[in-house]
Amino acid sequence: MTEFDAATAAVQAALDAGARYADARVMHRRYESMTARNGDVEELTQDESVGLGVRALVGASWGFHAVPDLSDAAACDAGRRATRTAMASARVPGPPVDLVPVQAVTASWASGCQIDPLGVPLSDKGDLLVDATRTMARHGADLAEGLYQIWDTAKWFVSSEGHRIDQRIRECGGGISATSIGDGETQRRSWPSYRGQYGTTGWELVESLDLAAHAAQIAEESRALLTAPPCPAGETDLILGGEQLALQIHESVGHAIELDRILGWEAAFAGTSWLDLAQLGSLRYGSELMNITIDPTIPGALGSFGFDDEGSPAVKRDAVRDGRWVGVLAGRDSAAMASLDYGGSVRADGWARLPMVRMTNVGLEPGPHTLEEIIAATDDGVLMDLNRSWSIDDKRLNFQFGCEVGWEIKKGRRGRMLRNPTYTGIGPLFWRSMDMLSGETVAWGTPNCGKGQPGQIGHTGHPAAPARFKNVRVGVSA
């Protein structure tokens, strides 16, 4: 019995039990991670998981069931149980459910991969992390940590509308961090970001990060931060590096434009959104430099795919154009409920999880400046980079971020290093204050986006470049 056979059996069983629509995902995922600390490999984990999840729609109610078994009997039972669960949902019914049309296709897709990351010898991968962490320890880090992660996912999707799609997505990445410990606090510097940079690529991404070459510098900076002056408190011009701006986009734009949040489907947990659908197309989200796209077609970016987990093909769309809010991340049912004509942003974290609205690659189009031009044009400000903490309210408005490092900017020049830099603000006010944006774009990957109940971890991409924001409150402390 093939994976397509199992998915087909599950869908048919759901229909036979009374569903008016059903789809099923078989997924086979292999995962490998290695961590190293102070010159030793700390942990090596290799996981392999295979199973099937089936979703059934009965009237206006959904049900979902998952099993780690691809036999015909198990698949059929899963289909029937999904339908029975949907019927239970109808005891507390909602409004009618429609699905925006998607052409049923038979298709295959695979992400690009030059060097199979699971094929690289473990000893080579271990040597990379051991050498980098040993260098950091030698240059003053109390804690020298390195990490890589690899996911190799094959999936087969079948729907009662006739979809039959298989995909293979390989993702990997890694990074290093140096922590120095003082009397009352710790300071950390990372490369290229804390817990690393990720993409839908092969091992070539990790090689390109050149971890060893940056180990000494970040270790020395983490040590120097312990005695650096604290980031002053007040309002100032804030320059964000691209890595931090990627998370700013993720938290204050990406989540805010998720249609399930806007519709209230996440109200009790992840939260809602400050955005009102009545303002789609007219609301000023940010300055005219702000052009945000939803683009799962970017080669190598972490949120890329051929088809989402409802069978919708990857399509690039605008979310914010010239500062105006024009698009959302949607699924077939949420789009229909909002009278929109597109889904395409639904994914499931493995076979045992319900597909739901997730970010794909949500990022900024390049701006006209460079980081050096932005610094040169800043008379008095702070440059911050690499995220250390992030917090935002349940409507995605009020945020506070902490970064690993800040630098004083005086009269167009980068000055001394600042420790414990933080900044806070309100999303749309912050984005409207963006007056300079670099074109030095990197598609940063975020492999740890939590959402949903039961919890799901999403992999998202965020093209971003350094930018300047005016009159931002910085230096918040306990």
């Binding site: 998981s49 998952a66 669960t85 949902s89 909602g94 473990l122 250390r388 309210d393 506070q400």
Partner: protein, 468 residues
């Protein structure tokens, strides 16, 4: 799927390691079957309703001085062999592991509370009916939340001769009612689904939402606070993960200093996994037991697994978790013991008028009655650590904040952002009152819970208002 029991599968894995890895190969394995179900509602309707019947095998091997871990979901003979072969192969390619602490020795595990079979095998209709009761009790307010049940059956075995078996169940319900953008929440977890009353929880959430209407914005600053159990649960979680974590302690990233009076005398923290349904062993097969982390304000211990215990010259406290080599051992069933410190009255002064419904229990009412000017905070949200050693955390209030004046809740307040050191806020002299009854709060993962009474603190640093 294999018809073998979890114990049989675990024994088979250990035997496979012995056969394929040689007599010197060390192995530990956990096999878990789980039935997890969650019925989710929003806009007063069930919109997501999921269940899963899963099996998982986790294996860690130590061979020729090298260690590797793996897991799999295929429990056929071929699947288990493949898991063992690839994990052994991985270990042989790894650098030496000088910190390997050895396997848990044979030891009997304690008796765990009996499993409620009705909860273990709950049907979707039962969860849906509780949701229906919650929705109905909230009247015309919009509601959202979930009702979930979880059942795990788990066996441990290692090549040192330790073996153990256990089952756990949990039911949880968490919901909000909404009025004009103001939310009220009710949240519980229990060993039995029958102990969760959807109507009671829905009415409580609705009363709080009604009381949260028309909030005013207050300026940031230091305020005296009364935290309800949902908010206190966040304190316990962060103290556990960042403070009482044996790995972070060994790395000098923790504030914890055993033997030192770091907290107010009202604070006693006990990790007590088997006071509720739970597995009687940890991820390394060490028996789980109650561990007092703080007694009357003095830090006594941190949680250890075998690796951190060996580094510290101590014994494992039974807090190993999967992936713990990286993340460290964690206390996940922490209870702040109620002490009825502060206002003696168990009834307090009732709140009337627009804010009626803000206070939902007599413990909280008693604490509120002693506050001259401060804030009643129901829940904390999106808390993130700025510095792990001082445990400075930023986050926001959620699901209801009210101004207290002269012992009475007078009006709703808009959400505030805070930046605060948790151990400092709970430090000597900082706790002005503690409720008598600890209320068990569910975590995002079943089997993890935080039990706390309401808590009155002298000062909490709010660093931003709703508008920035």
């Amino acid at each position: 799927m294999s018809g073998q029991t979890e114990s049989e599968l675990a024994g088979q894995v250990v035997e496979l390691v012995r056969r394929l890895g040689g007599p010197a190969a060390q192995a530990e394995t956990v096999v878990t079957r789980a039935d997890l179900a969650l019925t989710r509602f929003a806009n007063s309707a069930i919109h997501q309703n999921v269940s899963e019947s899963t099996v998982g095998v986790r294996l860690r091997v130590h061979v020729d001085g090298r260690t590797a871990a793996g897991s799999g979901s295929v429990v056929t003979a071929d699947g288990l062999s493949a898991l063992v072969e690839r994990t052994l192969a991985a270990a042989r390619l790894c650098p030496p592991d000088p910190g390997w602490p050895g396997l848990a020795p044979p030891a009997s595990t304690p008796d765990a509370p009996p499993v409620d079979e009705a909860t273990a095998h709950a049907e979707p209709d039962q969860r849906a009916d509780r949701v229906g009761a919650f929705v109905a009790a909230a009247g015309n307010l919009s509601t959202a939340g979930y009702c979930r049940t979880a059942h795990r059956s788990s066996a441990f075995a290692n090549s040192a001769g330790q073996s153990a078996y256990g089952r756990s169940v949990e039911a949880a319900m968490d919901g909000i009612a909404r009025r004009d953008g103001a939310d009220g929440v009710a949240r519980r977890c229990a060993d039995r689904l029958s102990d969760l009353d959807g109507a009671e929880l829905g009415a409580q959430a609705a009363a709080k939402a009604q009381a949260a209407a028309d909030p005013v914005e207050l300026p940031p600053g230091h305020y005296e606070v009364v935290f309800e159990p949902a908010a206190v649960a966040d304190l316990l979680q962060n103290l556990s993960w960042y403070g009482f974590n044996g790995k972070r302690y060994a790395e000098r990233q923790s504030f914890a200093e055993p033997g030192t009076a770091q907290f107010d005398r009202a604070v006693t923290l006990v990790d007590d996994p088997l006071s509720a349904s739970g597995l009687p062993f940890d991820a390394e097969g060490t028996p789980r037991r109650a561990l007092t982390l703080v007694e009357a304000g003095t830090t006594l211990a941190v949680a250890h697994d075998r690796r951190t215990a060996a580094e510290a010259g101590a014994e494992s406290t039974g807090h190993a978790v999967a992936g713990g080599t990286t993340w460290g051992p964690m206390a996940r069933n922490l209870r702040l013991t109620g002490a009825a410190v502060g206002p003696a009255s168990a009834t307090g002064r009732s709140t009337t008028g627009a804010a009626a419904g803000a206070v939902v229990d007599t413990d909280t009412a008693a604490l509120v009655a002693g506050v001259r000017r401060g804030l009643l905070v129901t829940d904390l949200w999106y808390t993130r650590v700025l510095d792990p050693k001082s445990l400075v955390v930023t986050g926001l209030t959620r699901n209801g904040v009210w101004l207290i004046e002269d012992g009475v809740v007078v009006r709703a307040v808009r959400d505030l952002r805070f930046t605060e050191s948790y151990p400092r806020a709970l430090g000597p002299g900082a706790v002005l009152g503690l409720g008598a009854r600890a209320v068990r709060q569910p975590d995002r993962v079943d089997g993890v819970w935080w039990a706390a009474p309401s808590l009155r603190l002298a000062s909490w640093h709010f660093t931003g208002g709703a508008s920035g």
